[in-house]
Symmetry: C2
Subunit: 212 residues, 2 copies
């Protein structure tokens, strides 16, 4: 997403270090302490403006959520959404997803969400896709046994690629939806993108996969 200049972003980051955590790698292995309880931790990679994580956190008060987002001007929007909603089970990290093992200990995470990730359609960029094997290796490391990945996208190419990549890595597909909004799923929380694309009649793909 293109970043706009938001002069209040730096101020927001400075004033909300309990929500958008600086020096996050120092908390590795201690995230439950940071949340102050023993609830499972779910991780969203690419949190965007935060509609999904805020909605999930509201629906699931017994789960802790961590959202990662690299774009500063975007993560502060997520931060202000979470703050307004008064949610105490969400933390945000203004970091890159490239070094998850630097941020989380083995088995520290229970579930991972990849929502409308950049499809990187060119073959030579395949290794940047969040379902490329190097990422799956990291997910496997930080996820507890039986932990699952939920992928949601409107991008056909990324979805096709990811199904094969999951399968080749040895993950088991739990369910697959090729047109998510053709079914009633009261559990589904829409992202901003999802709302927009779905309203245009674009099918939304979703699958869940677990490390076997």
């Amino acid at each position: 997403m293109r970043q706009r200049h938001r002069p209040w972003a730096d101020d927001f980051l400075r004033d909300n270090t309990g929500l958008i955590i600086p020096e996050a790698e120092e908390k590795k292995g201690r995230w439950k302490e940071v949340f102050g309880n023993n609830n499972p931790i779910h991780l969203e990679i690419g949190t965007g403006k935060g509609q999904f994580i805020a909605g999930m956190a509201e629906k699931n008060p017994d789960v802790n959520f961590i959202g990662i987002e690299l774009a500063k001007s975007i993560i502060v929007m997520a931060g202000s959404k979470v703050k307004e909603a008064g949610l105490d089970n969400v933390l945000l990290l203004h970091v890159d997803a490239a070094d998850l093992q630097g941020l989380f200990a083995e088995n520290e995470i229970s579930a991972i969400y990849l929502n409308f990730s950049d499809p990187w359609p060119k073959k030579r960029h395949a290794k940047r896709r969040l379902t490329f094997p190097t990422f799956l290796e990291q997910y496997e490391h930080i996820l507890q046994p039986g932990g699952e990945i939920t992928l949601k996208t409107d991008n056909q190419g990324l979805f096709e690629y990811s199904l094969v990549s999951f399968s080749e890595f040895g993950l088991k597909l739990q369910d697959v939806h090729l047109d998510l909004h053709s079914i009633e799923d009261p559990e589904n929380v829409m992202t901003e993108y999802e709302e927009k694309f779905s309203a245009k009649g674009q099918p939304i793909y979703r699958c869940r996969a677990v490390f076997a």
Copy 2:
């Protein structure tokens, strides 16, 4: 497919026992002898009117094809198509797919095609779907190591179900297409159904899966 009464069907079967093989279970383990060469054997389950198997056999003269079709009035149409095309690398079996191990020995088949199979959309009929685990067990038995299944369908529910069923059984997905005709695949041979549905703009799904 609804069967029409075709009075010539019995005559055709009687006159073409070299093409539509009676008492097929007696050939179990000896299909290469029946073909008279050592080429790999590919199996289509639900051959319908035969456009796919005839087209594949024409494009792949070094492969032997066996087509199974339960409907008598339909298999004779496939038979007459194969006969007209003068293909010597196709055999047809007027049998049910329920007992493949009665028809083929272990490792006797190199590849299996499931084209536009009956989706059996009701949950209580799931066990009739050709990608239900009891069928996958049979495929695993008759397929040689590394043998693959190619599934093609326009039915979203069957495709979603099959991806999960393959994955849970331990098959690896080799490729997945969610809109086959949006790509150029000169190797693709269309079935009658595929031509019809694709012309209506319906997406065609395809995946290949191998026993790991």
